[in-house]
């Protein structure tokens, strides 16, 4: 059974729907990617999952819980770590405090300090800067921090909103490599929303292509990578 099963999701902002009958799933421990151009509705999908978008139709099933109509805080507490677009860094808090905020819902002290070690292991740069104000971190470091903050929740599912956005290619590779590690080691399922289709298709097992709020193509990532139309429009060769 899939960990996340979204069926016929319709919703939007105000009276305008931006998502129309979107269905997709993320397997337990799997990586699913949603591709699409700017404005295709990728970020809106993630917002809808976390109760930050008006949902007018469809169901969002996460393990045994239905997420429709729940408050963001409660959804997160079920084990969904959301790395939002713009990274959502607490600029005035230190790096370490940012991570402590990520672990706010947990009570297991030993587990938390274990996870501190783990994320510092993934991103040694964050450890070096742990007492620094997060606002002084570079874009790449803030992205690492955002991912780490979400990991501190010990999520079962990690939602990533364009982690490559605005970053240097080397940093992006680094981050994608670590996402692979996280998925392997911790069995965290990942839902990745990306514009950078070639990277995303390399990482993911299954992929969905979103255009103006509708799923226009879906299948195993390998198949989409080879599909003529995807190659032309999104991979550029």
């Amino acid at each position: 059974m899939a960990l996340l099963e979204v069926t016929g999701l319709t919703g939007g902002y105000g009276v305008t729907d931006v998502l129309h009958d979107v269905s997709f799933s993320v397997e337990q421990g799997g990586i699913t990617t949603i591709l699409g151009a700017n404005g295709a509705g990728k970020t809106s999908v993630l917002r809808a999952l976390c109760g930050m978008l008006r949902v007018s139709g469809g169901t969002i099933q996460f393990a045994s819980d239905k997420l429709n109509g729940r408050a963001t805080e409660s959804i997160v507490r079920l084990g969904i770590g959301h790395v939002p677009d713009g990274r959502g860094t607490f600029l005035n808090l230190t790096t370490e405090e940012n991570l402590r905020v990520g672990a706010m819902t947990r009570k297991d002290k030993a587990g938390i300090s274990e996870d501190f070690k783990r994320v510092y292991g993934y991103f040694p740069r964050l450890q070096e800067r742990r007492h620094q104000q997060a606002g002084t971190l570079s874009g790449g470091e803030q992205q690492m921090l955002a991912i780490s903050r979400a990991l501190m929740l010990r999520p079962r599912l990690l939602l990533l909103d364009e982690p490559s956005f605005g970053l240097a290619p080397l940093v992006v590779q680094d981050i994608f490599r670590i996402m692979r590690t996280i998925n392997d080691e911790q069995k965290v399922a990942i839902l990745l929303v990306e514009q950078n289709a070639s990277l995303a298709l390399e990482l993911a097992d299954s992929a969905y292509l979103l255009e103006t709020g509708r799923v226009v193509m879906s299948g195993p990532a390998r198949e989409l990578r080879e599909a003529e139309s995807v190659r032309r429009s999104y991979l550029g060769y």
């Binding site: 997160v76 860094t89 808090l93 706010m104 903050r149």
Partner: protein, 289 residues
């Protein structure tokens, strides 16, 4: 010289009170960008509670503690029941709600306790303890304010609830995404602000006497202090409070006379807003596009 020193010290004592009230304002402003005009009247109402308890024979410090706790729950309730519902309303709606709260609290207090001016006791001895320039009450006010500041600092710096409240004040969306119950954090902020205000009220009442309008002037000084320090900066609020207190006293004694003291505060407010809207320590907001 002695008179001057005396003015400075009593300015610092007043300033400590303004600083507390400014801190209460800043606490709410930081997380919601609301300036709670009813902060003063909430403090005044709390002070009446303390007065009623003391009159009923409860020892001063016991009444003090009970008042701080009761005020916390009053603040919390006001946020949950009233402010919550208009949180996303236009600014003018909020201003009207806060002013309505102010008037409602004022008249309810007058109705319950009458408008007759009452004497409110000071917990500190009448004999000056620290030399001739400082009355014990003034020294006590400064001491109590310092303790409050220290406790707040420790709370926000070292507890995880304090961290959650700081996170909420800075970025509510990210806080929600970390599972923090943002609504409760805002309510807690109101509770804490009400408690701090209550302490300010109990400290100022022996000086200005207790009546339903006692805080109207103090609130103006508090707003001046908060603006001067930078409305989003707790440290600035405290420094601003002390500056306003001393300035007000010295101007009153040597320059404009006591009748125009409040005018000084108002001129400060206008001056800061025109020439340095971010205050002495405020951050100017830079948005990356």
């Amino acid at each position: 010289m002695e008179a001057f020193l005396h003015q400075v010290f009593s300015g610092l004592a007043n300033g400590a009170i303004y600083a507390s009230l400014a801190l209460a304002l800043v606490m709410i402003y930081q997380s919601t960008h609301h300036i709670n005009f009813a902060q003063g009247e909430m403090a005044m109402f709390s002070t009446y509670l303390a007065w009623a308890m003391i009159n009923a024979g409860i020892p001063y410090w016991m009444a003090f503690a009970l008042t701080v706790i009761a005020s916390f729950f009053i603040g919390l309730t006001i946020e949950r029941v009233i402010v919550r519902r208009v949180a996303d309303a236009p600014v003018l709606t909020l201003v009207v709600v806060f002013i309505a709260l102010l008037v409602i609290l004022n008249s309810i207090t007058g109705w319950i306790f009458t408008y007759t001016i009452k004497v409110f006791p000071s917990p500190f001895p009448e004999q000056p303890l620290f030399g001739p320039y400082v009355s014990s009450h003034e020294a006590g006010v400064v001491g109590v304010s310092l303790i409050v500041l220290l406790l707040l600092f420790l709370f926000f710096r070292f507890t995880s609830l304090g961290l959650a409240m700081r996170a909420t004040a800075e970025n509510a969306v990210s806080s929600r995404l970390s599972g923090i119950r943002v609504g409760w954090m805002l309510a807690l902020g109101w509770g804490l602000a009400a408690s701090i205000g209550a302490i300010a009220g109990m400290m100022v009442a022996p000086i200005v006497y207790l009546d339903p309008n006692m805080m109207s002037g103090i609130l103006l000084y508090g707003i001046a202090a908060a603006l001067m320090g930078g409305i989003d900066n707790p440290f600035g609020a405290v420094v601003g409070g002390l500056i306003v207190g001393v300035l007000e006293n010295l101007m009153g004694a040597y320059v404009v006379g006591t009748e125009l003291k409040l005018t000084v505060a108002l001129m400060l407010i206008i001056g800061v807003l025109i020439f340095k809207p971010t205050g002495l320590f405020g951050r100017s907001f830079v948005t990356r596009v």
